[in-house]
């Protein structure tokens, strides 16, 4: 006799035997230590490796955003893109929105493609990761002669960190909902 489970046929007798298998048959301790240790490592990936992945995502996504939203005058098509729209919120508002878009879009993609355990680690140090990524981005922009002043840079920095946090939390809450509702 068999039952169907997700298109697979399970033998009822074997399943009953499996369910009632005596709990005295503990696996060897060394094997348990190895399995639990291996999976614990897999569920706690090193933050440096996650930051590396995040940087690669940001390099790709950030480059794409430069197509339609130049940062500190650095763009790909030398157009003004969304800057005209953002300028409606004033000069500071524009810098905040530019920073938020630049880092936020990367965090949207990161929240969608990273594994849940990687996002868990990322969220433990979101501010640190974002500050580091923003600093590296500003450094990279200054290497290509961007027009960065201290005040503009700081406002942009603030926008990027806030935008990054908001995007990550928003996207992760959607993804978490999808995982839990399966």
């Amino acid at each position: 006799m068999s039952i169907e489970y997700k298109n697979r046929s399970l033998d009822v007798d074997e399943f009953q035997e499996f369910v009632s298998t005596a709990s005295s048959l503990e696996p060897p301790r060394a094997v348990s230590v190895k399995i639990v240790g291996e999976l614990r490592r897999a569920l706690n990936p090193p933050p440096a490796a996650i930051f590396m992945k995040l940087s690669i995502i940001h390099l790709l996504v950030g480059t794409i955003t430069l197509l339609f939203c130049p940062q500190f005058g650095v763009g790909i098509f030398h157009n003004h893109g969304l800057v005209a729209l953002f300028e409606r919120f004033g000069h500071l508002g524009c810098m905040i929105l530019c920073g938020a878009l630049f880092l936020g879009s990367s965090m949207v993609v990161a929240a969608a493609v990273l594994r849940p355990e990687e996002i868990k680690i990322l969220r433990r140090g979101t501010i640190f990761h974002l500050m580091l990524l923003s600093t590296l981005s500003i450094a990279l922009f200054s290497c290509v002669n961007a027009e960065i002043t201290l005040s503009r840079g700081m406002v942009w920095f603030l926008g990027s960190v806030l935008g990054g946090i908001t995007a990550l939390e928003f996207l992760w809450s959607i993804r978490r909902h999808i995982i839990l509702s399966k």
Binding site: K6, E17, F18, V19, L25, E26, P27, S32, N44, K120
Partner: protein
């Protein structure tokens, strides 16, 4: 419900149902995995032990079950009961294990020249008798011999050959592939 929240509540992952633990595990909660492991590892190991005589093979399959559980956790649908899903996983690992062992034996033994096989009493021939093995590198040959003649585990072979278990797996799979290619040419 979220894995982190469950952990922080402190009121016991152990009190949660398997299906709830799987949800937390899908969100990356290692505590949820550990509770599931503690709860079900004796069942899995006991079931495998009844079907596989050799301890090291049972242990290899047991490890494979939990590695597969980890890799497939995102495919689990928590509206369905957990135990049949785990059982299906155990069965599939057992079938894969048996198939691969049989396939390897078929490949290895198919390289035995007919005359030598007859002289040595068919399948009881030692691996030293295989012509095919001489075409392998020393490390590949030694790894295959230790695995299929002495039936050592990957860990034991790795300490014998002073290399990592993953390298041992690679040596064996490359060796088997080479033997297969040679079998195809004959």
């Amino acid at each position: 419900m979220e894995g982190k929240e469950i952990n922080n509540s402190g009121m016991g992952l152990t009190e949660l149902r398997d299906e709830e633990l799987m949800k937390a595990y899908q969100l990356g909660d290692e505590g949820a995995f550990e509770v599931l492991y503690t709860r079900h590892s004796p069942k899995v190991f006991g079931f495998l032990k009844k079907r596989v005589i050799k301890q090291d093979i049972a242990e290899d399959l047991f490890q494979a079950v939990f590695l597969k559980l980890h890799k497939s956790r995102s495919t689990y649908n928590s509206t369905l009961p957990f135990l049949p899903w785990l059982f299906a996983l155990v069965q599939s690992v057992m079938v894969d294990g048996i198939r691969s062992k049989k396939r390897i034996q078929e490949v290895v033994y198919s390289t035995i020249p007919e005359k030598a096989a007859t002289e040595c009493g068919g399948e009881s021939v030692g691996l030293q008798g295989l012509h095919g093995l001489s075409a392998l590198s020393d490390a590949q040959r030694k790894a295959i011999q230790l695995r299929y003649e002495k039936e050592l585990s990957f860990d034991e072979i790795s300490s014998e050959l002073k290399t990592s278990p993953s390298n041992v797996r690679q040596l064996i799979s490359r060796g088997i592939r080479r033997l297969k290619e040679m079998g195809g040419k004959q």
